[in-house]
Subunit: 249 residues, 4 copies
């Protein structure tokens, strides 16, 4: 739990990236020479009240040591090729931190990451097609703070298609629905709570396009960080209560 | 819509009160000599980033002129004896402002107000009993920002009982459940969205007890004001679209 | 409340129609010489366990007398040109019956009917365009009984476009999302509960196309009737409880 | 997916039980000499349209072979002492079947079973106390088919206390809230969907009390079986779509 006056302290973000595509695919390197995490973190560090660091798969413990996780208010997650290389021990720790209240923002192909599937309980499968197609991202929750300052629909000129049926539990809130020239639709922005933690899934972000340079996408990720920061008031406990609760006080 | 940098401007609250009990019932006057609205507004005005004014039933237009409503980010509502005296024209205007994005916090017996029933579409009936009983308010959404800084359960030593079946639509989020010595339960903290507006119903606040002097209740109302302030990005429109949307750009 | 053994009795449906387009527009008459209600009711009457009657705007009391409503388990509603001609008294009665448990299925332009807006508390506005376009109806809730026996996506070769932002409360369940060649999306199948009643909104059904002759659309309406029939166990009451509930037993 | 006419075939239930308490605890044996599963299955087999078999932990593959799971429409689950003895391979298979559409009804201490925690993604922790206390089960979703034919509140004269905070995702539907003399509350009846499968958690059922002999509890379990049976229409797929969807038709 962060301290009571939520204005006083900066939100501490860890931007996690698999960081493999950016080492071998020229199209990806052209957009993200230092990795997608570098671009995402740089934008977040320009925001008032946010401080972002990065962590990647090939660092020791994937860059997510106990110390890093304990000092993370919101974790963003991008992975694709190497979901299976993330250790189960790390997934256990991240899950525990989310239940304690750490925010989790899952991006694009992170839908198939171990941590997202763990938190959802479903396959998180979807339809997909790589064909340089336009995506329109329509808003269906017009007052949601994650959408603040952005107009509907967002237009991404070229993207990968993600389509329904997206096998996730019913989101707490559906924020955006995307559509593509092939006629498919996709619930592209979805919020969930698990324990004391808030989770936001946001599908834009295919690695061969400069999507994380798009100001609308950047704004939504920054808004999501603010929305997902730990708030609330309870520790989750499983105590035995030998007598009636109120008599103990 | 408030301007983009949500840190910069203060949240403008109008605390609305029927203000009748406080003019004729000695028990109520003892706790609220200037009305419940005065106590609620005074506490809100001590909060960083919030400025609160008041409005009451017997003022012209119930104190809710077009100017007042246009300058209100969040409206709180307490009524009981005189729901029927609130003009339908005012209810129409408040509904329109909520759909545009104004937050609405409905307190205690406001469950039967015209505006709450209008926004819900149901009877908003419930069970009740006045018997000086203890209420325990348990949290079931531990990460919710409205509960920040308060421990579960809140104990109110003496209150009026409100019990299920509470005839409301399924809330977007259920935050708290209350229980009473009679064995009843009540969904005492519920959030909804309608249009671009956020609505929070919170049941504590019977007029014959000093509940709005309770620091936990005050904190939750202030948290709810911050949660309910207008955010998001869309104007709600109903345009005819003569050609495909994206072709117009 | 229907009697306990829900298999034993037939579900009694009243198919309500404004029945104005079918009297003056040759394109509509070509598809529905006796009115859309006649086609919908005829299909329902072919289903095991369902018996359907019809009612229309220009009948006395719009065909919805107290006797008719009391004998209706599920009401379907199609209106467009003459929403304002439906009497408020009838809307009051229909709302009361829904809260008691009567199912309500709102079709197409019924989104702007008095009864739907009353139950929702919002404007129920949406975008629209008449341009003979194809609609794809994708399923996002694959286990829902309303979708049983139909494959996703349903293709309607020519239809009217309905697009977001659709100003409704967050549905209890989102079943289908539609898309159109213009790139728009629409939450075309949404379920709600209000009181003891179940409500299903389903957007297909523009009067100038033979959509209610489509076997997939017919199947979904019949499934929705089965889903919306009164079940459950409570009368909604607002009693005063002079002593603790359990002590009265 | 079950065949199209859902009236024609019987719902095939497998009642799973850990079946350990009933072999060593005299209090439990007094109520359930042949195991709780025997009582639950016997009641279900008296219902029209339902056929129930049983399976227990100590059978080969815990009684849940591929053949048994393939022939199960709805699985009920009671476990407590030996959650860790259920093989991960079986949990994998049950999860896959739920995502395909098999219903899952999790009873009482099954809240901590591997399969429930797997489907939820959370700890599923709760408060508890064994003190022979009365439970009142209040209904908050009066039209829900799972509550059909039962009056609110159900009274259980002696039970174990389960209390909030119950660490589950927000349920799709909250059906019942329980309260106890200690003043605690508990979301005792909750529905979820995962993939094409429906899940119902229902907390009553402590092994030292004759709760599964209670006609109200029996009725709710039978209603839940009918609600949870496979319906809907989609296979969950993750295909690559080389061209636009509609162009393939």
């Amino acid at each position: 739990m962060r301290k009571d006056n939520f204005m006083a302290a900066k939100i501490r973000v860890t931007v996690w990236n698999e960081f493999r595509h950016e080492k071998k695919n020229a199209k990806v390197i052209a957009h993200y020479p230092n990795g997608m995490h570098a671009v995402i973190a740089a934008h977040l560090n320009q925001q008032e009240g946010i401080v972002a660091k990065t962590a990647t798969l090939d660092e020791p413990e994937h860059g997510l040591t106990d110390e890093v996780l304990a000092a993370t208010d919101v974790l963003t997650w991008w992975g694709h090729l190497a979901h299976h290389e993330v250790s189960d021990k790390t997934v256990d720790k991240v899950q525990a931190r989310v239940l304690e209240g750490m925010g989790l923002i899952v991006l694009h192909s992170g839908h198939h990451s171990k941590i997202f599937r763990r938190m959802m309980g479903t396959s998180c499968n979807l339809r997909w097609r790589e064909a340089d197609e336009r995506e329109l991202i329509w808003f269906v929750n017009p007052g949601h703070p994650i959408l603040q300052g952005v107009q509907s629909p967002i237009i991404l000129p070229k993207t990968e298609m993600y389509g329904e049926m997206f096998d996730i539990p019913q989101p707490n809130e559906l924020l955006t629905i995307s559509t593509y020239p092939g006629g498919e639709v996709f619930r592209s922005g979805c919020s969930f709570t698990r324990g004391a933690g808030k989770i936001f899934y946001f599908s834009p972000g295919h690695e061969t396009y400069p999507i994380y340079h798009d100001p609308n996408i950047q704004r939504i990720i920054a808004n999501a960080v603010r929305w997902a920061m730990p708030t609330g008031s309870m520790k989750l406990e499983c105590p035995m209560s030998p007598t009636g609760w109120f008599e103990k006080k």
